[in-house]
Amino acid sequence: MKQQLVVVGNGMAGVSCVEQILKQPHNFDITIFGDETHVNYNRILLSLVLAGEKSAEEIVINDLSWYQTNGIRARIGVKIASVDRERKLVIDEDGGITEYDKLILATGSSAFIPPIPGVDKKNVHVFRTLDDTRALLEKVRPGLKVAVIGGGLLGLEAARGLQVRGCEVTVVHLMETLMDRQLDATGGDYLKRKIESLGIRVMLPQQTAALFGNGRVGGLRFASGEELEADLVVIAAGIRPNAELGRKAGLQVQRGIVVNDYMETSDPHIYSVGECTEHRGQTFGLVAPLFEQGRVLASTITGNRGAIFTGASPAAKLKIMGVDIFSAGFIDESGVGVETVRYEDPSLGVYKKLLLKDNQLLGMILVGDIEDEHTYMDWMRSGTDLTPHRRQILFPPRESDPGLEVAAIPDSDTICGCNGVRKGDIVQAIHAHGITTLAGLKEHTRASTSCGTCTGLCEKLLRAVTPDFQEETRTTLCSCVPFSYEQLRDMIRGQKLKSVEEVLNIYGNRKGCEVCKPALSYLLDMVWCGDHEEDRSARFINDRVHANIQKDGTFSVIPRMRGGVTTPDELRRIADVADKYKVPMVKVTGSQRIDLLGIKKADLPKVWADLGMPSGQAYTKGVRMVKTCVGTAFCRFGVQDSTRAGIELERRLENLFTPHKFKMGVVGCPRNCAEATVKDLGLVGQDGSWQVVVGGAAGKSVRKADLLITVETTEQALEASDLFFQYYRENANYLERSYDFVERLGIEKIRKETVYAPEADKQKLLDRLARSKTLAKDAWLEGQTPVSPTQFVQIQPIQVQPIHVQPREVQSA
């Protein structure tokens, strides 16, 4: 006869405990009650759902089929009203009765709603469950004024989520310091600056006295008498354990349901895990100790009583991309014998503070640089004598052998706090599935798929554990904004950043330089398909005036001649321009174009107007040209119409930016007269087919292009070109030519992800290309409508004669 195990609570702690029980031999018939109407989901990721980075489906941990395959009765949307310990049964709100032999209370916690007059008004929300999140999402719209009451972890994450949705968000906090329970005043100050730089207003210390508004909330009135207008209020003032059920049942309850080291309550048939419990006077809210509780209880309840829960020191990490905050342990420096070691770099926004006593680490505050979190946590937990490390304690040297560094992390340590993945899980998954890439690890364990702060550590683990680790080559953009291109693309997309300034203010040193600014300009343009905030100051001069700067500061002008085909009319206009502006040199380029050299900046708009031709983009990291041979139009050997195909190819891709210059060629037969096989992209005509070749070069490097695909029709060849072109745009590093890109990724992978990709994926690439194309325009139109009135001109001084003034007036100089 099976024993009835009833679990009240379908959250992360309860279900993870059940998962542990299932891994062991047991004799249970399991029923799980959950008062939320959803299957088990990852509550930690709700702020990402709010921000639109994840969907509700994506944060599901166990879907319905998991309950079914494991024979678990899921009573979803059923709230338990009381426990009858005498008769060993639970009674739900509708009076339904379920008997138990063993009962686990995993009721979690609820949002604490402070007793402020007006909290019952409409549009006052809490942010705790998926339903809360959905309710908020129904209300949010760009421009909505939102006040978040509470400047702790949850409040800040909610604020960021809402702000990414376009709301005007103000965080109101009772204390002098944001996250005051985890940070000191200095750390809080750094955090405040970071949060403000994201565009979130912070008001502190500010005590909310009342919410005003007629039925619907209109704003906050503070104890100081000040007011803040708000259309929506989110209360994130902390959580309270849901211990009511235990209290009513007569269990020993203080702040939470009291459990011993085995997770047993005061009733021998009742156990408790999660945020509703209190262990040695402490309650817990982070996922790592709650999972540990689940493991301990799984042992206890399956008859292997022995494992004990020993508590956990407080630790907290803020999950807002680019705002790295970690705090753990004891952070009150006023204790007897407590020493502090600190480091600050205001311009980088880095602040580290370590608290020590008797040469052991007691606690830490890390802001802006949390690389050493695991080293410190290890020192703290093991009580390592830090005497030999004292000189380098703020920047502990990295182990030269990456294996040693990760070997020091205990298996039970949580690596990915968002998804509760421990080191042991990762190592096991790597062995079980033969994982060799970060992408594979993400797929199998979900580690590093959410906030990204553990990516580096996951890579180290991979490197240490698997001999065949394939590192995704990542180049850090530059020291102004030290992230890889992959990370930057994610940040721009995820955090909905639209301008270079935003990226630099949030993730960089706020200044930028000639290396990162053009690269960021490119990434923004690519990610948003041209729908970004263009900042010309971040572009190289060529892209400000759409011409190529020469050694004497003059410019070269190359009009577009699609496919290298021109007309007598165009040639006459070019000749007239050369005469009129006394162009010092007229030259035929290697790309079948005509170059007018030595034009003054101020003359550019007039030259363009007189030419009456579009920009040849010969000055930028973008689509340069398509060089063609005459093909079937005239050539007696031609087997394909290369000029027509070339002109069409150029039309489809012109005016778009690329990671580096992008040159193309189309030839009408394998004699290859227009050298298509040494271009970034080439079409080589065959009798009855086209070869599409990519990654060729005949410049600094010489490389024969790789065959991407052979197709029958011109339209197919053009589509294959579009696919490769957009794929290169999206995946190459800035300033990476196609020939390096193709070598780095390998043509096989590129084929699989472009021409042989599933139809839906191909369509997505084509759609994004089409979107970019609709916003791309001929840059020379700015000759008529400049972006600033002085884009091309030299400024004429208002007045030439100086005014003489005494020096005391010039203090501002």
Partner: protein, 117 residues
């Protein structure tokens, strides 16, 4: 340094987009005025390396990078930033008042007077 400033009224500050530079020719000398966050700074528009137009460079903080060969100069001091490329450009006192940029060009005129004598 002269005791008296010779402020010349140049242009409306809005004529120079943020973090960009523009040139003005005064008495045959080209100066480059840069619009930084809350102020303007002015240097000679000629890189001492190969004469590059510094006004066309990318601004990074209070430095500008020559568009021709990447020499970097501090806009406040005029000094080259990299010690390996010792050189400097002339700087001119600049202030913004009521949205108008004023530059003290006494330096330019003095140089010319000296050159003439």
């Amino acid at each position: 340094m002269t005791n008296v400033r010779e402020w010349t009224r140049i242009t409306n500050v809005e004529n120079i987009p943020s973090r960009e530079g523009r040139t003005v020719t005064v008495d045959g000398v080209e100066i480059a005025i840069f619009h930084l966050e809350n102020r303007c700074l002015t240097i000679e528009n000629k890189c001492p390396h190969k004469g590059g137009p510094l006004c066309d460079g990318i601004v990074s903080g209070t430095t500008v990078v020559c568009p021709l060969h990447g020499r970097r100069f501090d806009l406040e001091s005029g000094m080259a930033v990299r010690a390996s490329e010792p050189s400097c450009v002339a700087t001119f006192p600049t202030r913004v008042e009521d949205g108008i940029i004023f530059v003290d060009l006494a330096g330019v005129r003095k140089d010319q007077e000296e050159a003439a004598t």
